[in-house]
């Protein structure tokens, strides 16, 4: 005798008028779906969805990760001298751990967890190596030309960097412009001819920004038709040449060209 329950199922199965294959597949899919809900009811992480589509406890877990960096204000509590020196220097905006690495362990036990002291030229050139896309005026050097082989610290204190003596040439800081000009038709013209510069600019550039030519008439003092300048200098009709636009909109003053 067949179990009446099976008979009932068999009977019900027969009532649904779908091909046998499809019925079995639907059955499997329903099982899968039930299985998925069953798994889901067990395995969804506990705090999931409390604040959004994520596990809220992840916030605490991340907050509990060990802290590696502490910030400059903690360092200067003990290293007051370095702090005082650096605060007034060019490096005031560069914090301690940028150069010395994460300091949390050092804070716990300064004597045993000594911090790294970067002595190689490579550290400084990460920021100061020449790159034409850095903003104008950011102090840059060409590591191959700027006192090669000597460690930077020989001449610059990392906590108070400044040129050891006032540079004689504008090119010490404006190297790119100086090099460009030196091979141009304007090579013979001194920078100060066009830029009125106070001496202090070479010690602390931002205290006094040099002036720049303002008008067409300035270039006209040499290039105007009637200018009182050496004969070999090419002349233009000052009133009409170049539609009256500023000369340096078409001619780069540090490397003037004729198109």
């Amino acid at each position: 005798m067949e179990n009446p329950l099976f008979r009932l199922i068999r009977f019900g199965w027969g009532l649904i008028s779908l091909p046998d294959q499809v019925k079995r597949l639907i059955f499997i899919f329903v099982l899968l779906l039930i299985g998925w809900f069953a798994i889901r009811s067990r395995l969804v992480p506990e705090t999931f969805g409390e604040k959004g589509h994520y596990r809220r406890a992840a916030l605490e877990a991340n907050a509990a990760l060990p802290v590696a960096y502490v910030g400059q204000s903690d360092c200067v509590l003990c290293h007051e001298d370095v702090g005082d020196l650096k605060r007034k220097s060019y490096h005031r905006s560069v914090t301690c751990e940028v150069c010395h690495g994460p300091g949390a362990a050092h804070l716990e036990d300064p004597e045993t967890n000594l911090l790294f002291q970067p002595k190689e030229r490579g550290l400084c050139t990460l920021c100061h190596g020449y790159n034409s896309s850095k903003p104008t005026g950011f102090p840059q050097i060409d590591p191959m030309l700027h006192n090669p082989n000597d460690p930077c610290m020989m001449c610059h204190n990392p906590h108070d960097p400044k040129p050891p003596h006032t540079p004689a040439e504008c090119g010490a800081c404006h190297g790119e412009i100086a090099r460009t000009k030196s091979v141009s038709h304007h090579a013979s013209l001194a920078c100060t001819l066009c830029h009125e510069t106070q001496e202090i600019h070479k010690e602390n550039p931002r205290l006094a920004i040099p002036g720049k030519p303002q008008s067409r008439a300035f270039c006209g003092t040499c290039h105007g038709e009637t200018a009182d300048s050496p004969k070999h200098i090419p002349r233009v009709e000052l009133d009409s040449h170049g539609n009256g636009d500023l000369c340096w909109q078409c001619h780069y003053p540090h490397y003037p060209e004729v198109f």
């Binding site: 899968l32 999931f48 896309s133």
Partner: protein, 399 residues
């Protein structure tokens, strides 16, 4: 700390121009290259299979079942690179049980599941059901029960039932074609919709992805079909492989035209990013884009295929040419994925500099894992072929 400085210095020496600090490390590495590559193979193999069923291209019948199994083998592996990339593979199952309904990234889960469960597995099941019943009847011991389980107990082999199976296969294939388009079009969409990235952001992206997927799928089937024939010491069906090669030729032409269109479009538009793209192509991507993708992976195969069409070669030579072409196409498509994924991260969002990708060797996002993930589908395919022999040599072919 010191080694970090050294690493930073080394990276710096590879950087050109100005980049933002967070761009020095690429976040999507080789695993994310492998992912679209594999999904592309799935979609391509499936579309090839559908040629036989829906468009009634009888010549490619010998590859029909093989293509289905290949698609399945690669589909099983497709999400693994993503899960490995999540960083916590042991937790990755959580994304399956807490699906996100709005995230474009999470959409892959749904597309994948649909494709796996509703398209591929169902189609394979209907296609093989009749055979499985036979194997269950003739098998002994465990084998008998194994196939019985696979049939889900649906043992009816009457004409009507088998007829229904074939109808179901056809119906699923018809649903399957748009699904395959969605599967890989989706991957292209993910990249194409990132509007902040000028290398990716393009409406053509999903379509370009799709056609390169079809190209890669067909060339993969040439390889798989050739190699399995070799192992079974069977003669390769020249009619079939000629047809495959023709399809490869035509789709490759469409694929190239689309890419060229995309290229012309970009050059003509010349938005501000064009200069950095130009630099990137001539410096960082020269080998992988110009040499590998364009010359080795596209123009060379096109030339080879054109020759087989124009000239009369002996069959042996033709097979060899097809084979080499298929391998070149695979290399080309892999570098296509590489150029999209890695290329899109090599230039700075400042559009003023280029960064550098340094591949790991070990580690969960490294080269070794990626090679493993590329071999895995082949192993799975070998097992699938053992379980569900796909051979339908032409003489024995049924309707």
């Amino acid at each position: 700390m010191e080694h970090l400085f050294e690493q930073l210095q080394q990276n710096f020496s590879q950087i050109v121009g100005y980049i933002y600090p967070n761009e020095i490390e690429l976040h999507w590495g080789i695993l994310i290259v492998v992912y679209p590559y594999i999904t592309g193979l799935v979609a391509g193999a499936f579309i090839l299979a559908s040629l036989e069923r829906v468009f009634d291209v009888k010549e490619v019948l010998p590859t029909y079942r093989l293509a289905l199994l290949t698609a399945l083998a690669f589909l099983i592996v497709a999400p693994l690179p993503l899960l490995a990339h999540l960083g916590h593979p042991e937790r990755s199952f959580e994304i399956m049980i807490t699906p996100h309904l709005e995230s474009a990234m999470a959409m892959f889960g749904f597309v994948y599941l649909w494709y796996l469960l509703v398209v591929l597995i169902l189609e394979i099941w209907f296609e093989y059901r009749g055979d499985m019943v036979l194997w269950s009847r003739s098998g002994k011991g465990l084998k008998k029960y194994f196939y019985y389980l696979l049939t889900l107990g649906s043992l009816d082999t009457s004409e009507k039932a088998l007829w229904f199976d074939q109808k179901a296969v056809k119906f699923i294939t018809i649903i399957g074609i748009p699904s395959a388009f969605i599967l890989h079009g989706y991957v292209g969409f993910l990249f194409g919709s990132i509007k902040a990235n000028p290398w990716w952001s393009s409406v053509l992206m999903p379509i370009v992805f799709l056609f390169s997927a079809i190209v890669s799928g067909i060339s993969l089937m040439i390889l798989v079909y050739g190699i399995t024939a070799l192992f079974r010491s069977k003669q390769i069906d020249m009619v079939c492989i000629d047809k495959l090669a023709s399809f490869l030729f035509y789709t490759l032409i469409i694929d190239v035209s689309l890419e060229v269109l995309d290229f012309i479009h970009r050059v003509y538009e010349s938005v501000e990013s064009i200069h950095i793209m130009e630099q990137m192509i001539s410096q960082k991507l020269f080998i992988s884009l110009v040499v590998v993708q364009l010359l080795i992976g596209t123009l060379l195969p096109l030339t080879f295929l054109a020759f087989t069409k124009l000239l009369r070669f002996p069959d042996e030579l033709k097979r060899l040419i097809y084979f080499v072409t298929a391998i070149l196409v695979q290399i080309g498509i892999f570098s296509t994925r590489w150029n999209v994924v890695i290329g899109g991260q090599l230039f700075s969002k400042s559009l003023r500099g280029l960064t550098h990708y340094k591949m790991e060797l070990l580690g969960i996002e490294g080269l070794l894992i990626s090679i493993g993930l590329l071999i895995m589908p082949l192993v799975i395919l070998a097992i699938l072929i053992k379980i569900l022999p796909p051979w339908q040599d032409r003489t024995a072919a049924v309707s």
